[in-house]
Symmetry: C3
Subunit: 342 residues, 3 copies
Amino acid sequence: MADPRFHRRAGPFTLGELAARTKLFKLPEGAEGAVVTDVAPLETAGAGDLSFLDNRQYLKALAATAAGFCVVAPEFADRVPQGSLALVTPHPYLAYATIAGLIYPEAAAVAGVHPSAVVDASAVLGEGVQVAAGAVICARAEIGQGSVIGPSVTVGEGVIIGAGCRIDANVSLECCILGDRVHAQSGARIGTAGFGFAPHPERHVPVPQIGRVIIGNDCQIGANSCIARGSGHDTIVGDNVWIDNLVQIAHNVEIGSGSILVAQVGIAGSARLGRFVQAGGQSGIAGHIRLGDGVRIGAKSGVMNDQDAGATILGQPAVPVREFWRQLAALKRLSEKKGKGE
Amino acid sequence: MADPRFHRRAGPFTLGELAARTKLFKLPEGAEGAVVTDVAPLETAGAGDLSFLDNRQYLKALAATAAGFCVVAPEFADRVPQGSLALVTPHPYLAYATIAGLIYPEAAAVAGVHPSAVVDASAVLGEGVQVAAGAVICARAEIGQGSVIGPSVTVGEGVIIGAGCRIDANVSLECCILGDRVHAQSGARIGTAGFGFAPHPERHVPVPQIGRVIIGNDCQIGANSCIARGSGHDTIVGDNVWIDNLVQIAHNVEIGSGSILVAQVGIAGSARLGRFVQAGGQSGIAGHIRLGDGVRIGAKSGVMNDQDAGATILGQPAVPVREFWRQLAALKRLSEKKGKGE
Amino acid sequence: MADPRFHRRAGPFTLGELAARTKLFKLPEGAEGAVVTDVAPLETAGAGDLSFLDNRQYLKALAATAAGFCVVAPEFADRVPQGSLALVTPHPYLAYATIAGLIYPEAAAVAGVHPSAVVDASAVLGEGVQVAAGAVICARAEIGQGSVIGPSVTVGEGVIIGAGCRIDANVSLECCILGDRVHAQSGARIGTAGFGFAPHPERHVPVPQIGRVIIGNDCQIGANSCIARGSGHDTIVGDNVWIDNLVQIAHNVEIGSGSILVAQVGIAGSARLGRFVQAGGQSGIAGHIRLGDGVRIGAKSGVMNDQDAGATILGQPAVPVREFWRQLAALKRLSEKKGKGE
């Protein structure tokens, strides 16, 4: 069970309800009334708990699980041990996510402004907005219905936050417009001035960064990640983009909807990513290049050139993933040969 | 036009004024009185707007621009389309930066301490200092004339901030001395204890970090970047150094004037960089090494050895840039040959 | 001398006291009463100062030092110049750390809650706890004896902080339990939701992150580093773990006691590190892999596979360090040969 100090549980739910809500698995016969009280990992789940398998690395844990219910893909259905009810679906992780979201729903906003928060008289707060202690809401900011502004957050002048957003502790926002249901995790910095200056031996001359950051709906921005505002154009993050922690997005970058950026990714200025691009941890994308839809970038890669839609690339500089492994194999053979010869 | 929610425009200016202020281009005949109302990117600029070309990748945009005025290098003068006035200069980006800075000047400090800020009685604030809501100024701190301290900033005990500095939201400063016109972007951490300890199986023993961070004039420190204070020596950042977001500078590092560190660079302890060193995004510099003046480090490189002034290096470990490409070409040929043979 | 603006000195101490407290070196004959007033680097130390040599790169500085006392390893004892008293020990850095810690002890907590701090009525503060200006302590949080909560820190609901901890400025904590003597540096983010979602073309479905972060005793978490809470399991950091700045630790990661993570390291979800693992700067560790005790990872490496205890690895993908250098040498030879042939 999740620690109740931190996580509040809803439910319980019958399997019938869960099947109806997720629409992702067929109810085993006679199981409609079975009661699911909680979700838990395979290793710790008990009789009333629902667990899932999404990575074959954990088949051993599946075999040993005491979970009452297991969401699994069809190919693993017969690996669910006796005593556990297999819930079979082509999308086990999605089913688990949906069910866990019912059992552990996000806390709703508690409408009101903490007395220690500082809200400028010209700011506009929608219905049900929660502003926590120590938050600072500057002039002309607008915050949409039901959004939660965490402790010591700074919402800069004129910033627009959509409805149902969560802006976690110590975030700062400036020169940006956020869609609905955006979740900015602690310490994220959105809308800071981009790294623009004309080099000069005595004093580099700053280029005024007069664009904005525009973020779509349903995005997540990770802890301590940074998104610089455009220098003239805007920096644009589409809908449904998930950005992990400590990611850097430079000015004028455009990121297509559905893209996924893993931790510590860096995207240089004016790069344009298509839809559903996936960038692995610590990878980097050079400035001014374009990546087509669905490009997948391996962890730690350095992407220096335009990439066609659907490309899967790896390495520094990044090349098609097969080429990367072929080059590595060639190098290995070469070094072994040389090693023997000497 | 830049969004007036976020950016306040000055002017308009006549081309004569702009030519006189920048001293970077010769006025086309009869153009002295032409009025420039705004700056904008090539793609969005209109009749009264000034734009620029600094990257040949955007020649197409130049050809199609409706900008009234275009700052360009001599070799592109004849690429400026009819209807747009070419302002020709060897330094188009510098000219643009200067003009944009006139049209979008930085907001001046609004003198005063917000009532929610906490300023220790022993702190010394210069004339015209602005302290925003929620800022905390600790004992004996000194803040120079006209500096702006943003919301929820922490200025630690004894910290000295020069004149005309801007310390953005949620920054924290400790054990550091900043020159004039330093801009620390949101979430920057300056002067934290370095990563110094004597390894020990039961409890690593911290080495007291009894140095400082000394930052020169006209520096920019990016959002969420970290500069650790010295362990005994100081950590020193020269004048006119620009540091992008999420950069790590370890204890005792010295960075020469005019250097440029792109996002996510990491510099290990006691490394010494000369003047005008340029480090590309996500590059790393090993501890205790020395880089001469003007060394240029490619993105994602790992610099493990001393480098002579003027070296241009790339790779991990970093080698002269030509050698990097030669090695890569050799590896490519090898893997293709092997590929065929198999 | 360390700048008294920032660092308060205790002492002086006689060499006899220091020898007794550190138990790491034998007193030179007749030196018991000699007085040590300060510690300082070799280059700046004077007659009453104690310095140390731990890196043979600084032998020149040793030869030229005016330090009254030098802590050195046996092999360098005869390199200590005349006029400086050699204190010989197999553990010079440890001895220096201990002595410097006596001369520059950490400031003790000043018990009390600043009037501008917001402490929920249900929070429990131990004896002698210090809560600085602008800090926000949420419901049911518990803070152990003598801990110091810095300015504008956010301590989330239910968070437990042990005794003797220091939580520096602008840190935020949620869903986490910290041991004793944990030092979280400025801007660290502990316990944020991990990067867990089921990909979906319209809206990626968040997987509720219902685990915690559990941190042992005597840990240091660097500035702006991020530790995500578990998704179901907990994220676990053992005792005596030192984490540098801008490090990313994903959900469900386990880090064994004594491990050392240098700046900008990234550890992907569910990786398990043994005890005393060392990860060099900017290295990355893939998800779901296991590293045995004492694994050492070179800077900038990318670890993609399980590693046996004691392995020393380097490269991307990381291989045994010898293999890395052998491959590099082979590539160098190849490229030179090809270069000549063309």
